[in-house]
Amino acid sequence: MSRQPLTASQTVGPFFHDCLMRDDARCDVLCTPATDGTRIRVEGIVLDGDGQPVPDVVLEVWQADAHGRYTHPADPRGLPLDHGFTGYGRIATNADGRYAFTTVKPGTVPFDAERQQAPHISIAILGRGLLNHLYTRLYFDDEPANGKDPVLERVPAERRDTLVARCGGNATADVITYRFDVVLQGANETVFFDFATGNRS
């Protein structure tokens, strides 16, 4: 039980672009030339329950650097911190419901004292018609560690594929492309998460 009642969420509505996507607030390139790691481009489409593209959502992404380190004071490990990298991105879908961002592939991060999490990118989806944002995760199809990931293990086996981005080869000589579509509703609905924060009334 939370000691303070939480503030409710509401939709971002249709008119967020001028604020959330202003030039110095949006971010679809997370890395600089100095950032350590393998360059990747993630691209996909967001679809609604009718299979129609969703042109007015924001994807926010959060990830560890190539060493598996988060740019955050709560990351207690003594790993090398990549100072050229924040790990945060904010991307809007275009008129065709498509999005893309360029980053580095994240490293593995701890789950608990014994286990590691497979490389993944956390994604929040905010949009018109979404009264609360949706949380999902992107995993990589070329990672054997997926088979032992403690979060993926909690996902029904038949739905795990919705969280796995497909390697599509090289976009350029230096950048590997992954495809990750988000289905908000329906038969191939993406898995969305609820985190046990302990703040329930």
């Binding site: 969420s9 955050h72 009264l131 509703q185």
Partner: protein, 242 residues
């Protein structure tokens, strides 16, 4: 597993709206049908971009003058202030707060807002600030007007200001809307009503005469409480962190 769709809520169901709320029609094809998968907080959710996002200028918090025209926005000048707290009641200092709103006539600058309310050349309707050491934020703006939308016949959104907050963790991310106490449109607004009673109360700013400045602006106070790692979570960043 497919559950009862209207019961799908993320976070505290006593406060947060369900994803499907049919009176708000845009939810019908966008709400998930499958139950959310509940997972423990890991380092990925107990961390977040909040502490790293800090690039704002003092001018960003004055929506009456930040259009860059040299002119001042038309409307009832208001001060909107309050504190950002975590679920344990502790202040969340140095966190980014982003806001957007309609002008005094209820019109957004956004190209998709085409109803015949007048635009104000001196008002962009966007602002941002960083909370201070006590978790306090403060904006100077004008009171937004109500505006019509096409959700149902004669639909009008009550005056509101959109708020976006990060807090300390990925799990504390919040986007919401602040409403003004005493407005008659709230009780017939499907977006406001999508939240349960406690949630609706959490989104209402109160008139605050101690915030009102003589011969200048009316004051409104609204505190914001963020979800996120707490004493009962897997990990508390304030204990684990630097």
């Amino acid at each position: 597993m497919i559950t009862t769709i209207s019961e799908i809520v993320r976070g505290d169901a006593a406060v947060f709206p369900p994803y499907l709320y049919e009176a708000y029609r845009s939810t019908i094809k966008r709400a998930p049908h499958h139950a959310l998968v509940e997972v423990p907080l890991t380092l990925s959710e107990a961390t977040g971009p909040g502490p790293a996002l800090s690039a704002v200028t003092p001018e960003d918090a004055d929506l009456t003058r930040n259009a860059g025209t040299g002119g001042e926005a038309i409307g009832q000048r208001i001060i909107v202030t309050g504190r950002v707290l975590d679920a344990d009641g502790a202040p969340v200092p140095h966190t980014l707060v982003e806001v957007w709103q309609a002008n005094a006539a209820g019109r957004y600058v956004h190209r998709r807002d085409q109803w015949p309310g007048p635009l104000d050349p001196n008002f962009l309707g966007i602002g941002r600030c960083i909370t201070d050491a006590t978790g306090a934020y403060r904006f100077l703006t004008i009171k937004p007007g109500a505006y019509p939308w096409k959700n149902h016949p004669n639909a009008w959104r009550p005056p509101h200001i959109h708020f976006s907050l990060f807090g300390n963790a990925w799990a504390s991310r919040l986007v919401t809307q602040m409403y003004f106490a005493g407005d008659p449109l709230q009780s017939i607004d499907p977006i406001f009503n999508s939240a349960p009673e406690a949630g609706r109360a959490s989104m209402i700013a109160e008139y605050a005469h101690d915030v009102t400045e003589p011969e200048w602006a009316l004051g409104w106070r609204w505190d914001i409480v963020l979800d996120g790692p707490s004493a009962t979570s897997f990990e508390d960043p304030r204990e684990a962190g630097a």
